[in-house]
Amino acid sequence: MWRFIAHRVVYTALTLAAVSLVSFLIIQLPPGDFLTSLAGKMAEQGGDLDSASLAGLKARYGLDQPWYIQYWRWITGILLHGDFGQSFEWNKPVSELLWDRMGMTLLLSLVTLIVTWMLALPIGIYSAVRRYSLLDYVVTFLGFIGLAIPSFLLSLALMYILSRYAGMSVGGLFSPAYVNAPWSWAKLVDLAAHLWLPVLILSTSGTAALIRVMRANLIDELHKPYVQTARANGLGEMELLFKYPVRVALNPFVSTIGWVLPHLFSGAVIVSVVLSLPTAGPLLLSALLAQDMYLAGSFILILSALTVIGTLLSDLLLAWLDPRVRYQ
């Protein structure tokens, strides 16, 4: 067990290092270094970057050094000082912009994950046990539709329908009155009133996918000899179902977190853009369009890091659930 955990933790650390390299690469991708684009932007706005501050920035990011030194400065800045660099678009340190947005992204994703599971698990079990029943067909069909409609299209459609026919103003996570208000019970209620729509949209495709996973897993398990053994020992169908095959089918289900999380963060980015939610999505998009690379790279870094850590947690959960993994 401990060997397994140690193995996974080391592996996660390596993956995180690789993730940081990719994020850095993305920061470096646009032609020219960011100082040129910064100087260009300043010139555009009529201002001018004096050579002293230019030299200061150059030294700080090691821009005249080879790329690995630049990477080293960037990553040690993050790890040791929590310094993600400077957003030139906002003229603020990235870290000031980052955490608020990431918190909301995390909240949205976690609520969605919970809703997805709460829907997918029972429906998947039902579909597998009552295979080819009417509800199974309905669920399968809805599932296909859920997978086929891109989340942004679904957001647009729901937004249009709600504003056109229900007269609701959608978008954002708070009513204007609460945006800058301190946290309170009323603000929480307001958040819940706004959160359901993005959660609904985001959970659609995930739920559809997980229902299919659960259904397929459980159908596989239902035909295994150990289910026959349990039956041959006089267990009732319901008792048997939940004690054995559902329990076994839960393991691959748990391991889907590994891909549900990236999927969820991806979806959250794009849905947030459409519904203009104060999450990472819109800021990431505007940062990329403005080539505000330190901000964009930091978002990509944190989103990926969260996914990797989430996968680690799901691995550990799986080890706790499945003895075969634990004893490897």
């Binding site: 295994k224 150990y226 026959q228 054995y244 076994v248």
Partner: protein, 375 residues
């Protein structure tokens, strides 16, 4: 050994009804059992009018190739069939004690009464010890609830009984091993665990569906010895389903030979091995390798393959592969089941097959105590 074909041999012989065996001898009676499967490609008559009995404290072997319906016959005894299968006709009569009868085939396969019997009166050992236990539960988690339910024991007593059963089947440190997972056991050990589980509630019948197929030869012998030992100890009956005639010779007292859902020959183990009547039984026996047979002796394989259940041959199911098939008879009319006295019967029209049994002078020494009382 070519038999002279006699055109309408046996056709005049009416199917003789099986003489009713004294019920007190039999634990199970299967009468004219028919199990059908509804598949996408049509109806499959997996078990097509099977009749045989299982005497108390004896071992009956069902022998046949894959596709013969032997596994389904076995499962019918606990009314545990795949959901596409139905018992459409016949009886599965269970006599818990002489004079009492339960028709298992008539019970609701999901109902309480049949579930109270499963694992308690009749239990099952599957052919896949590797998959027959849940991979994510310990042995104890799988054994203890069964024992406490069927024997109405408390948790502690049930655990003790489980450990005792593990010890009985030869698992070292049984109390500790209750906390182990199936994947921590080797194949042979796992089959021992399955046997312990199957025998833990003192069943009257154990259905062993090719319990040794997945194991290596040495382990096979150990498992079979264990089963025979346990049977002698507790006086249970065993329905042993196998295609391995070597195993049959070792454990059986009665043999049922099945081909395409039908019983083609039935008899005591001595009768089947020393005086096989049906061409299929004879062919099966010829295909078993023997020690001491000269190195030039070729093993006789049965030619052809088992026909698809979707297009059975007309007439006798076996005639396309039969060396003695009589043109115009065997390929036209399905042969009747001819009773030859006792539990002996054969489904064939050849005069050679249905001649009265010969009294054999010598009987193999090992078989004396296994001679059937009602035979």
């Amino acid at each position: 050994m070519r038999l002279t074909p006699i055109p309408d041999a046996g056709l005049g012989v009416p199917p003789v009804p099986r003489p009713a065996a004294e019920p007190q001898d039999l634990l199970f009676e299967v009468e004219n059992l028919k199990v059908h499967f509804a598949t996408d490609d049509g109806l499959v008559r997996a078990v097509d009018g099977v009749t045989f009995g299982i005497p108390r404290a004896k071992t009956v072997c069902i022998v046949g190739e894959s596709g013969s319906g032997k596994s389904i016959t076995g499962r019918s005894l606990m009314n545990l069939l795949p959901h596409t299968a139905r018992i459409v006709d016949g009886h599965v009569l269970y006599h818990p004690e002489p004079g009492r009868t339960i028709d298992i085939g008539k019970l609701d396969p999901r109902g309480k009464p049949i579930r109270a019997l499963r694992g308690k009166d009749v239990s099952f050992i599957s052919q896949e010890p590797m998959a027959a236990l849940s991979p994510v539960h310990t042995i104890g988690q799988q054994m203890v609830p069964v024992i406490s339910r069927h024997l109405k024991l408390g948790r502690r007593e049930a655990t003790e009984r489980a450990a005792a059963m593990l010890a009985r089947v030869g698992i070292p440190k049984p109390a500790e091993r209750l906390g182990s997972y199936p994947f921590e056991f080797s194949g042979g050990m796992r089959q021992r665990v399955c046997i312990a589980l199957a025998l833990s509630c003192r069943p009257k019948l154990v259905i062993a569906d090719e319990p040794t197929t997945a194991l290596d030869v040495t382990t096979q012998a150990n498992i079979i010895d264990l089963l025979v030992e346990l049977q002698e100890e507790s006086g249970l009956s065993i329905l042993f389903i196998t295609h391995d005639l070597g195993v049959v010779a070792e454990v059986a007292s009665d043999v049922v030979v099945m081909y395409l859902g039908k019983v083609v020959e039935r008899g005591s183990v001595e009768e089947i091995f020393h005086d096989p009547r049906h061409p299929y039984t004879r062919a099966l026996l010829r295909s078993v390798p023997r020690l001491g047979a000269g190195r030039d002796t070729r093993l006789a394989a049965i030619r052809g393959m088992v026909p698809s259940p979707f297009d059975r041959p007309k007439g006798c199911d076996f005639h396309p592969r039969c060396d003695f098939a009589i043109a115009g008879t065997c390929d036209v009319t399905a042969p009747p089941d001819v009773a030859l006295g006792g539990s002996r019967s054969v489904r064939c029209v050849l005069p050679e097959a249905i001649r009265p049994p010969v009294q054999r002078a010598e009987t193999p020494p090992s078989s004396t105590q296994r001679t059937l009382r009602h035979g």
